[in-house]
């Protein structure tokens, strides 16, 4: 590979990255060699070796795009192209992305940097890039047709502007936007402050990821681009649990997590064990007077949120979207509720016709993770993930914040499962049980109904019983 030399230039900063050579070298002579990432793993932070110094971020299951300095201008090269993204072990998707992955690499710059970005289009249709949230000349805003002509397939365009304000941003196409975003085209952008900013704290860990969603029929590879709201894969950086890496931090580290939402619904992002404050939005750092502690923050469509907290509680803390359907993988939305339905005799009858049939859902959906039956190829199970105490029964937008006192500074390695001090894990109670005192709460009615229902509704509550007979 002729690009080996280039590769070595970036070696050690983004593991597994290789320079692409598919675009003519003559044409590319004046351009920085595009760097392609082949791995979906979280790459170590790219510590700047040129330009102004800054504390780099870590992109969850992603990487930062290397650059070159050209007469004081930071030059990046993005290549829009079809990619294969492993969304979870054993489940791959045919997406569109940048430089080998979807989402594309994170672009990190420093406030005041002059930036030149070459965008080469290797898609079958035209594209453009909009630099979401940036202050820039109107002609650089990237809306095809409005601010610039679209970038035709095979063409390279160049964008150039100054990163005027520090903050959390993203980039995505603004040409055939619906299709290209449904196909996974997006990336993160972080502008670090040039000097000490009273509203921007120093942190030891700085994570970022984008919320995105896909509709991929179980067993297929390509997202259905026409889906409006009924997505079946809710992902962080085009990864779904258990494919999302954990956020590993050192005890008492100050942690910043930057989240951008490019799905079509809001996501209440929730951290266990800690309270955080929102220190930044799309508009930049928030005034300190506006910050209050929370454990969940709702990130609306198209928004960015930057949360910060001190990781002062050791352990493995769940970190997830609080819409419970968003912590599931592909599932049927029309599957009837079978809870409490007696299956005596029916399973046998069905087995005569469908030999592999097993009763599921009579007790709930946890059956799904217990039975481990074969599912269609290239499909992530609806809920899964083996934890130290059994199945976590999750999917989609779920990860774990791991706080350890022996995690080394700057070390992002997964420390494994938390070892709980003795007596600090919930356990089965084996003492005597006394019957609780019950009370009857007879609520009133604010106003009487005009039309009375003919008969009082009778509801029978079936208490859980043992799971037998099938």
């Amino acid at each position: 590979m002729t690009s080996r030399r280039e590769f070595f230039k970036y070696a050690g900063i983004a593991g597994g990255a290789v320079a692409a050579t598919a675009v003519s070298r003559v044409a590319m002579a004046a351009l920085p060699e595009p760097v392609i990432q082949t791995s979906p793993q979280t790459m170590a932070p790219l510590v700047p070796s040129s330009g102004r110094p800054y504390n780099p971020v870590v992109t969850l299951n992603g990487w930062t795009l290397p650059w070159r300095m050209n007469q004081g201008v930071k030059e990046f090269h993005l290549v829009a192209e079809p990619v294969v993204r492993e969304m979870a072990p054993g489940f791959k998707a045919h997406l569109w992305g940048y430089n080998g992955q979807s989402p594309g690499p994170t672009i990190e710059v420093v406030e005041g940097d002059r930036i030149r970005i070459f965008v080469t289009n290797k898609l079958p249709e035209h594209t453009s890039i909009h630099w979401h949230g940036q202050r820039l000349p109107n002609g650089m805003d990237g809306v095809a047709g409005l601010n610039q002509p679209a970038i035709a397939p095979g063409k390279t365009f160049v964008y150039e502007f100054v990163a005027r304000r520090p903050g959390t941003f993203m980039y995505h196409p603004h040409a055939d936007e619906m299709v290209q975003m449904a196909m996974g085209m997006m990336g993160f952008w972080v502008t670090h402050p040039k000097e000490k900013n009273p509203l921007i704290d120093e942190v030891q860990r700085d994570f970022c990821f984008l919320l995105n969603a896909y509709d991929i029929d179980p067993g297929s590879y390509t997202p259905k681009i026409m889906t409006m709201l009924d997505f079946n894969l809710w992902s962080w950086n085009s990864r779904i649990f258990p494919g999302i890496d954990t956020l590993n931090v050192r005890l008492n580290d100050k942690v910043r997590i930057r989240v951008g939402n490019l799905t079509m619904t809001n996501h209440p992002i929730h951290v266990h064990g800690h309270e955080f404050t929102i220190t930044g939005t799309d508009g930049g750092p928030t005034p300190k007077s506006t910050r209050w502690p929370e454990v969940t923050t709702d990130i609306a469509v198209g928004q960015m949120r930057q949360i910060e907290f001190v990781a002062d509680e050791e352990g493995d803390w769940a970190f997830h979207c609080h819409k419970s359907h968003h912590t599931m993988n592909a599932m049927g939305h029309a599957v009837p509720t079978l809870i409490g339905v007696d299956h005596t005799g029916i399973a046998k009858k069905i087995n005569k016709l469908i030999p592999d049939y097993m009763v599921m859902g009579e007790r709930g959906m946890a059956d799904m993770t217990e039975m481990e039956m074969p599912i269609p190829d290239n499909t992530a199970p609806m809920m899964t993930g083996e934890g130290p105490f059994g199945s976590v029964e999750m999917g989609g937008m779920f990860s774990v914040l791991k706080v350890r006192k022996d995690q080394k500074p700057g070390d992002y390695k997964d420390p494994g499962w938390y070892k709980h001090p003795k007596g600090t894990v919930a356990h089965e109670y084996s003492g005597p049980l006394t019957e609780p005192a019950r009370f009857k709460a007879e609520g009133g009615q604010s106003m009487p109904r005009i039309q009375k229902s003919a008969q009082p509704t009778e509801v029978q509550v079936r208490k859980p019983t043992s799971h037998k007979d099938h």
């Binding site: 599957v335 509720t337 007696d342 009858k349 069905i350 016709l353 469908i354 799904m368 269609p376």
Partner: protein, 477 residues
């Protein structure tokens, strides 16, 4: 004079003997008839036909039938069973026999008339003896003999053709009965699946997970499946009874009749057109029947040109005259010729009739030859098309349906679809299997029809459309 007389006597004797011999030739027995049918059609029937005439014969036939009925009756055995057991076939054989006998009769010369007269007039006693016969009757014996033979041939060919038709109907009835029985088994499975859905829906409603409409939808499908099962059940009964009738089974035989569980597998390869063409060029019954009918008509026509015009009665006469008064006795002898005078009937109508009959037979032959090729091509097309469709079902449609079911099972495992969708899919799969059975049935019907067409008894072969549209009984959406 004496010499002349004796030579005349010899001539008469010779001609009488000839008459006797010729008359003897034109006879036909039931054994001859059966032998002929068996020769012509044994390859087709794969068995021998016999006419039972004694109680012993019937007992023997009952024994063979009982043996055949002791195991599931395959298509070949069904034909055997018909051969030994069907009274309709026996009736056909007897009918063939009497037709042949009638035909043989027409080739015989009418018996000569011997008349004896005794007349007394006074002293005179006259005894006259006369032997008379139709002269043309004798002279045309060879011709009439030929005609009789044609008629015998015709009746034998017709019998063979009827036997072929009966056997074909047996084969087709067997195919229909087996297929209906097979489809019935699957219709039961559809009902079971629908029953499971309905019961599950009922329980879902009882614990509050389903509302009335969702439950009613599943229940409605169950109700519909029950209707379809009833129809399938009747179909199985009626096709079986059709077979019972063609096999000529009595009540107790019908009760023990068992059919195989499924139709035979499709042949690995369909007959190709050239093979069919080769078999077909062998003499076909329908063409030969038309041919003999034409030959017969032509011969009769030649004959009728003579016989219609004149009828010559020849009488040899010898009288003895005894005169008691004189004591003399004389023996005059001589002959008499009587000719029917064509005054009222000049035979024109009869000649016209024979003429027309010949023209008709000639045209019939040509028509038969011409349509033989066409009906064979149609039969072959039905055979080949139904073969391709049945194979398409076996190799494409059913496996595809299986893939869908397998994938649906996986989707159910992943909780991507629910149990009602899984059950609806199983019903779709079963319906596809039923359609596949129908396609096989079509093939075996066409196969029997083609065999009949090849031997020269064209049988109607209309293909019905086989489809396997997925059921509308969808799952809870």
């Amino acid at each position: 004079m004496k010499l002349a007389r004796s030579s005349r006597r010899i001539k008469l004797a010779v001609s009488l003997i000839t008459v006797a011999v010729l008359a003897g030739c034109a006879s036909v027995s039931v054994e001859q008839n059966l032998k002929r049918v068996n020769e012509e059609a044994s390859e087709f029937t794969d068995g021998q036909l016999a006419l039972a005439r004694s109680a012993e014969d019937h007992a023997k036939r009952n024994e063979v039938a009982a043996k055949l009925l002791s195991a599931p009756v395959k298509q070949k055995e069904a034909v055997q069973l018909a051969l030994v057991n069907s009274y309709s076939l026996q009736a056909l054989l007897a009918q063939g026999w009497y037709e042949s006998a009638d035909a043989a009769q027409s080739g015989r010369i009418s018996n000569p008339i011997f008349s004896f007269e005794r007349m007394v007039a006074g002293d005179e006693l006259e005894l006259s003896r006369a032997l008379s016969f139709g002269l043309l009757d004798v002279l045309t014996i060879p011709a009439r003999q030929g005609i009789a033979e044609r008629r015998i041939e015709q009746s034998q060919l017709r019998l063979t053709s009827e036997v072929v038709d009966h056997v074909t109907r047996v084969r087709q009835a067997w195919v229909r009965a087996v297929a209906a029985q097979q489809s019935l088994a699957y219709a039961k499975q559809v009902l079971e699946s629908a029953e499971a859905s309905a019961e599950l829906a009922r329980r879902m409603q009882s614990v509050g997970n389903f509302n009335r409409i969702s439950r009613a939808r599943e229940q409605a499908f169950y109700a519909d499946a029950a209707t379809r099962l009833a129809t399938a059940s009747h179909q199985a009964t009626s096709t079986r009874e059709e077979l019972v009738r063609l096999l000529g089974l009595n009540e107790s035989q019908a009760q023990v009749l068992q059919l195989p569980e499924r139709l035979p597998d499709l042949p690995k390869q369909a007959l190709d057109p050239s093979a069919v063409g080769k078999i077909a060029t062998k003499s076909r019954i329908d063409i030969r029947l038309a041919q003999t009918s034409l030959e017969g008509a032509a011969k009769s026509q030649g004959l009728s040109n003579v016989t219609s015009f004149t009828d010559i009665e020849l009488t040899a006469r010898r009288n003895t005259k005894i005169d008691n008064a004189t004591g003399t006795r004389s023996d005059p002898r001589g002959y008499e010729i009587g000719i029917r005078l064509p005054i009222f009937d000049w035979g024109g109508m009869q000649r016209d009739a024979w003429n027309a009959r010949t023209i008709s037979a000639a045209n019939q032959l040509e028509a038969t030859i011409r349509s033989a090729g066409s009906s064979l091509r149609e039969s072959y097309s039905a055979y080949r098309t139904s073969y391709e469709i049945a194979r398409h079902y076996r190799e494409e449609v059913v496996p595809l349906r299986r893939v869908i079911s397998e994938e649906n099972q996986l989707r159910y495992n992943g909780m991507i679809i629910g149990v009602f969708e899984l059950l609806a899919d199983s019903r779709d799969q079963i319906n596809t299997v039923i359609a596949a059975i129908n396609s096989e049935q079509q093939f075996w019907l066409a196969d029997a029809a083609l065999q009949a067409s090849l031997i020269g008894r064209p049988t109607n072969t209309s293909l019905s459309v086989t489809t396997s549209a997925p059921s509308a009984g969808g799952a809870g959406h």
